[in-house]
Amino acid sequence: MKVSVQFYSYFKDLTGCDAVEEELPEQSTIADLVSRLFERFPKLAAMKNSMLIAVGVDYQLRDYTLKDGDDVSLFPPVQGG
């Protein structure tokens, strides 16, 4: 299955792009996706512990099972106001 991944804030600088697509086995979780992304973008791995992840417009935990076509967003801690 295929998911699209969007980066925000300085995660775009760390990966050098705004968005990518990833091809994953069925039943993959967010944790699986993140491992794959860390291989592809080593600089992103350093942010492991301060990374927020959403699917669509809702936050999801690492054990969330992805579906084909999901829109995943990765970003650093938020700073509104």
Partner: protein
């Protein structure tokens, strides 16, 4: 509870917003917060802050917070404006209004909303030298 959310690059016209306040006869308290860009960020002087956001998720997360606000306090109305894009020093990036029967709940709700916003609403800032 009526809700009014604006995420926009335009300047926040606080005077106009205050003039448009709507309060029913049972309400006794209006609390406002204006968050203004400061000239110092971290170590150095800056001229502005550039706000980036994940717009659709910002709206979703604010409405989840408004749902919770409504459960916790007897708020009649909330209005919130957050600027995105470049906001110069001394200009407001955030404006919040809470209307409630009494000041205690209005202050509590306003502070809670801002604290939670800074935890979950996907907006990021970048200082402009």
């Amino acid at each position: 509870m009526t809700r009014n959310l604006t995420i926009s690059p335009g300047p926040i016209d606080e005077a106009a917003l205050v003039s448009n306040r709507k309060m029913s006869a049972g309400m006794g308290a209006a609390v406002y917060f204006s968050g203004v860009v400061r000239g110092i960020e971290g170590e150095g002087a800056i001229s502005a802050i550039e706000y980036e956001c994940f717009h659709k998720m910002v709206e979703r997360q604010f409405h989840l917070l408004f749902d919770e606000l409504e459960k916790r306090w007897p708020i009649e109305a909330v209005r919130l404006v957050h600027r995105i894009g470049t906001v110069k020093v001394n200009e407001a990036s955030l404006w919040v209004e809470i209307i409630a029967p009494h000041r205690g709940e209005a202050f509590a709700a306003c502070q809670w909303l801002i604290d939670e916003m800074k935890r979950v609403v996907p907006i990021w800032k970048k200082p402009v030298p």
